[in-house]
């Protein structure tokens, strides 16, 4: 019963909640935080497709996030380009870069892939940090415009930006949902499970991995471009490895390789961090050990653990139903049922 409620009920309720949220709180700061969470979520979904569903832990995603953000920033501020043209271009730039890096990085596996991407991420960060004449280095890039008008709709107010980001997020979630629940998604999971086995059943692992990698960097770039146009100021720090770890923390707490994990993890961690403002610089004192404890005790995160419990309960119920059938006259089973209900 609970499962039916989950699918049919929870999704529309969540969407509805997201839509009415700004009117319920009426608090600009909360709307700001929520918009930011949505932006992070997009990046986390990108990471989830790659690390969660295909089994490749990329530590370069802050780099791609920053490339998306800086592309948008530079194209709008320095090249004075139309916002949406710059937006599309920055997504293309990030994806092309992702394609080129993926082409080489994906020849490596496991530890080597993690180390390789860690270094790629650091190179991207260093380039942004040191290439003063282009990126303004540590001074950062100021005056990035808010999203341009689409027809009569303008995105100057926090509220309109909130809905823009929400709309994009919903599209991202829909895309990821459809991929995961398709043959393509099954193909990725087969690669995560065993690359050798995937090859023997005729799956071109390289082509599929490259596809996910590019898609994953696309989402990272999208997240970065939105961030730049929302915060309107960016510095090299957004490419720092710490951002990759942040994304990873959201993903792990929520549940790696699950659909709802990125939402649960990001909302939870971002809001807790906001509540613990005084801890801002030290938040890793708490999240570091949580991350470690999670992989030891709850490697599937919140969403994954709940799914696990549900599966177990369903199995038990099934077993009990079979038992009940056999001993339908027995009063003991009826008593048990009452207790559990």
């Amino acid at each position: 019963m609970a499962n039916i409620i989950n699918k049919r009920f929870i999704i529309p309720v969540l969407i509805l909640f997201a839509i009415v949220f700004p009117f319920v709180t009426q608090n600009d700061y909360f709307i700001h935080v929520m918009t930011l969470s949505f932006i992070w979520m997009i990046g986390v979904y990108g990471l989830n497709l790659l690390a969660g569903y295909t089994g490749y832990l990329s530590l370069a995603h802050a780099g791609f996030f920053a490339v998306g953000a800086y592309s948008l920033g530079l194209l709008t501020v320095k090249a004075q380009m139309n916002f949406w043209l710059a937006f599309v271009l920055s997504l293309i730039i990030t994806s092309v870069l992702g394609f080129l890096i993926g082409l080489i990085a994906l020849r490596t596996k496991e530890h080597f892939f993690a180390i390789y991407t860690l270094c790629v991420g650091y190179i991207l960060y260093l380039i942004i940090d040191k290439w003063d004449s282009l990126t303004e280095g540590v001074r950062g890039l100021i005056g990035i415009p808010a999203p341009g008008n689409i027809g009569p709709i303008s995105f100057e107010t926090p509220l309109s930006q909130y809905y823009l980001v929400l709309a994009i997020l919903l599209v991202v979630i829909l895309i990821v949902y459809r991929i995961v629940h398709s043959l393509t998604g099954r193909t990725y999971i087969a690669i995560r499970n065993s690359e050798d086995l995937a090859l023997t059943i005729g799956i071109s692992t390289m082509k599929n991995k490259l596809e996910v990698f590019v898609l994953s960097t696309f989402f990272a770039g999208l997240s970065g471009a939105l961030y730049a146009s929302f915060i309107r100021f960016i510095g090299p720090d957004i490419g720092n490895i710490v951002i990759t770890f942040d994304l990873l923390t959201y993903l792990l707490i929520g549940g790696i390789g699950t659909l709802s994990g990125p939402i649960v993890g990001t909302v939870l961690v971002v809001w807790i961090s906001q509540q613990l403002q005084f801890l801002q610089d030290y938040r890793m004192l708490i999240f570091g050990p949580i991350l470690t404890l999670l992989v030891i005790f709850y490697p599937r995160g919140i969403a994954g653990s709940i799914a696990g419990w549900n599966a177990k309960r369903a199995e038990k119920k099934l077993a009990k139903a079979q038992q009940d059938e056999r001993f339908s006259q027995s009063p003991i089973s009826a008593e048990n049922q009452v207790k559990e209900g």
């Binding site: 020849r107 993690a114 938040r283 992989v295």
Partner: protein, 287 residues
């Protein structure tokens, strides 16, 4: 010419530090096949503990280093017991994430306890020496000599003692080592102890010519990874040679290419290596 010699000397100094850090990383990788991303945090802790011992408790430099080696070594052992041991059968992605968690925690911890500021470590060996036309501080000479001494001691320990030999045996064949009665648990703990100790020595030696701050381990650990991929994951001589190769290329690159981008040299080196050979240099032939 003089610049070249001076830079080669600097390369020798940095290379010594890199080699020590990479040695700890490669030992752990050899035994447990874990790329310990938290190793840089051990390096950082080593620097702070030595600094604290000297400044707050007034210990002599060498005594402070000794305390630091012991404390950081024990942190390493704790890490093995509490985190990597429970995760020994988990999928490979998990121990990497756990290591990252430890790294984040230790960095935040250092910032909480000692602050985010850059601090300088005093050294009793700050005098400037002139030798063979070279000008350098005594500390730099000390780094080279101490590092080489530590490496020789480590080599003797691994080759000449039973305990050391068991580390080598286990890195070559874990199941085999178990069969011949080596206590693999104890060896794993010991390896982490040594690995942490080496990191503490490296940072304590390097700190007086660099600075002490919470993120001081980040770049060093990344470079150590480059080194052990260069020298072969798990290889001890490879870590030492790789360390010096990187040290030299950086100090020469800083002079003749660009000081700003010298940190990038290591990563470009790595990207090139892995692009050509995805399983790293000196990978054992696959079956």
């Amino acid at each position: 010419m003089e610049i070249l010699v001076q830079q080669l000397f600097n390369g020798l100094t940095i290379g010594s530090v890199y080699a020590l850090v990479a040695l700890g990383l490669t030992l752990v990788y050899g035994i447990l096949h874990i790329p310990n991303f938290a190793h840089g945090a051990l390096y950082m802790m080593g620097g702070y503990i030595t600094l604290m011992m000297m400044v707050q408790y007034g210990l002599h430099y060498w005594l402070a280093i000794l305390v630091s080696v012991i404390v950081v070594g024990l942190i390493g052992v704790l890490m093995e017991r509490l985190v990597f041991y429970p995760l020994r059968h988990a999928p490979p992605i998990h121990d990497k994430i756990a290591a990252i968690g430890i790294l984040l925690f230790l960095e935040a911890f250092a910032q909480y306890v000692w602050g985010a500021d850059y601090q300088t470590m005093p050294t009793p060996y700050g005098q400037v020496v002139q030798l063979f036309g070279l000008t350098f501080t005594l500390q730099r000479l000390l780094i080279i000599i101490s590092a080489i001494a530590v490496m020789v001691l480590l080599f003797l320990f691994l080759k000449k003692t039973y305990t050391g030999a068991s580390i080598i045996a286990m890195s070559q064949d874990r199941d085999g080592a178990n069969l011949v009665g080596i206590n693999t648990n104890r060896v794993a703990m010991l390896t982490f102890l040594i690995s942490g100790g080496l990191a503490a020595i490296a940072s304590s030696l390097a700190a007086p010519i660099n600075l002490v701050f919470p993120g001081m381990g980040q770049l060093v650990i990344l470079k150590a990874f480059v080194i052990i991929i260069l020298g072969g994951m798990g290889s001890i001589p490879g870590a030492i040679i790789g360390g010096y190769i990187l040290g030299f290329s950086e100090s020469l690159g800083a002079t003749y290419i660009s000081n700003d981008y010298k940190d990038i040299i290591a990563f470009i080196l790595l990207v090139v290596i892995l692009s050509v050979k995805p399983t790293g240099l000196f990978a054992k032939g696959g079956h």
